[in-house]
Amino acid sequence: MKKTQRIDPLADLAPGSVCRIVSLELSGLLRRRILDLGIVPGTLIRCIRRGPSGDPTAYLVRETLIALRSEDAAQISVRTLLNGEECV
């Protein structure tokens, strides 16, 4: 299985694609909330769907569906996995 080495912001992920969290650039209360939900470096995350106006976006992490705004998701770096290396 080959991995792409490119690092992208989570917000750029298209619905359906799976990726692995690389780092969180968030701060403060939001960072705490995100960490509490188990969105930590190394976690697999799948982009599920966008809201009716394109924002927020729902992600599947650890079998839980969590919606994030694009501004916040832009501060989470991920590495996209090709061929769905592992499924969430």
Partner: protein, 467 residues
């Protein structure tokens, strides 16, 4: 290393540790959380076996419809309308039964008071004042709440509510507020006090305050009857029979949308001025859909919400009932205190296209919005105790003979939508924010909005010679 040779104070060690910790800005705490989750993953892998569930696929199918571009919004509106319709039609009969039962008991109370030979004023304050007002509030308030809250809790329990926040978040984002505010507003439709309490679901303190301060901009169950009655007399009633119902429904929907618009505008203004600061964000969990647990729904809606709100309303309404009776029955010369105060307030009311009696009814109605219209009737008819109206036509006659025009009616509708929160809501705001300053602001915001809107409309209409 050197700790053995030269003992150092704890604070020195502490500051050194701080320097080391700060040299890895986030990665240190990240590592801890990552390790914790790593451990958890390993443990669950060993002890948990799961089958591939169809549940996820079912959730996806439902979400495809519920959050879709085309069906998402109409579905929300439809559900809102259904909940209102069920609440209002369903509450009719129990309300009537309750009020006839409770008022029949009032006659019995009167007999007992006569039997023990209580003075008239004691009977007046306790029975015509406290009891009658309480009975009124319970009869008008309890059935709609006992229907609205379970319906709302049902939607909550099924997992649908977070989808509303998901759909509407982008609008709240523009007002620099949180999408979950849409849920606290929905709750506010049932009762603003419950709505204020529900603001606890919002994580950020700033966004929570915005939601608390603006909750009163959506009309609660206590104000809907006033809105519906006044609008069916003066707006729906202005059209011929087949259209009047439709026009009335449109008018009410328009008022609700106006309230929602005002919520967004005021939220935005607050974010620009006194509640600036941390940028807003949203972390919203979208749980799996599931069959609501009936027991939990009934417990949460009846015990936690309905009885909670009712208890607070009763605590406040009882003394208010006594006060209203006293004001309606102590005479200064020819008129009661209410009439006297109303004449005093009249010039002020006229500025905003209202009159002194209306202003007085709203002021006394701070106890509970349900009693605004009964107080108004009581003062127009100078009966001394809360009045029911026999029919819409009878009410229309009373109002018109007291100088109401279409402009008065619209101003009353607007002022019902935009005025101070009821005392229960104020009390709850105090409890939730812990500060008199925010209570004052939650009082001032809708009041100033209402006064401004009514003033501009009235002066504009008079300037153009429409009235």
């Amino acid at each position: 290393m050197c700790a053995m040779t030269s003992p150092r104070s704890l604070s020195e060690v502490w500051s050194e540790a701080e320097v080391v910790r700060k040299s890895f800005p986030h990665s240190f705490s990240d590592q801890i959380v990552t390790d914790i989750y790593g451990n958890v993953e390993q443990i669950t892998k060993q002890v948990l076996s799961k089958k591939e569930s169809k549940r996820y696929i079912f959730d996806q199918r439902v979400d495809d419809v519920v959050t879709s571009k085309w069906f998402g919004y109409p579905l929300m509106l439809l559900l809102l309308v259904i909940v209102f319709w069920l609440t209002m039609t369903g509450a009719n009969l129990p309300s009537r039964l309750l009020s006839s039962g409770l008022f029949a008991f009032q006659d019995q109370l009167t007999l007992w008071f006569q039997w023990i030979g209580a003075p008239a004023w004691v009977h007046g304050i306790l029975v015509l004042g406290v009891y009658r007002t309480l009975a009124w509030v319970i009869a008008v308030m309890l059935p709609p709440m006992a229907i609205f809250f379970p319906l709302f809790t049902l939607l909550e329990d099924s997992g649908y509510l977070p989808r509303i926040a998901f759909n509407l978040d982008h609008i709240f984002k523009r007002s620099k507020a949180c999408g979950k505010q849409s849920l606290t507003m929905c709750m506010g439709f049932g009762c603003n006090a419950a709505g204020v309490t529900s603001c606890r679901i919002i994580d950020s303190p700033r966004e929570r305050l915005i939601a608390i301060l603006t909750n009163n901009f959506v009309p609660c169950n206590g104000r809907f009857p006033t809105l519906i009655v006044i609008s069916s007399i003066f707006i729906g009633g202005a059209f011929a029979a087949p259209y009047s119902g439709l026009v009335n429904a449109l008018a009410i929907t328009g008022l609700i949308l106006l309230g929602i618009g005002a919520t967004l505008l005021v939220s935005w203004l607050l974010s620009l001025t006194i509640l600036k600061g941390e940028p807003s964000s949203l972390v919203l969990e979208l749980p799996s859909y599931r069959r609501p647990q009936i027991g939990a729904v009934i417990y949460r809606s009846i015990i936690d919400r309905t009885l909670f709100v009712l208890r607070r309303a009763i605590i406040i309404t009882a003394p208010a009932g006594a006060l209203i009776w006293v004001l309606g029955n102590i005479h200064m010369g020819q008129e009661s205190m209410i009439a006297y105060l109303a004449h005093y307030l009249n010039p002020f009311g006229q500025l905003f296209g209202l009159d002194g009696f209306i202003v007085m009814a709203f002021i006394l109605g701070i106890a509970a919005n349900e009693i605004v219209l009964p107080i108004l009737l009581m003062s127009y008819l100078s009966t001394g105790y809360l009045q029911d109206f026999a029919s819409l036509d009878a009410l229309r006659t009373v109002l018109v003979s007291n100088g109401w025009t279409w402009l008065t009616a619209i101003n009353v509708l607007l002022f019902t939508l935009f005025h101070w929160p009821c005392s229960t809501t104020l009390l709850t705001t105090n409890k939730e924010t812990g500060s008199k300053k925010w209570v004052l602001l939650s009082f001032a915001l809708p009041t100033l909005t209402g006064l401004t809107v009514c003033f501009l409309l009235t002066q504009g209409a008079r300037f153009l010679g429409l009235v």
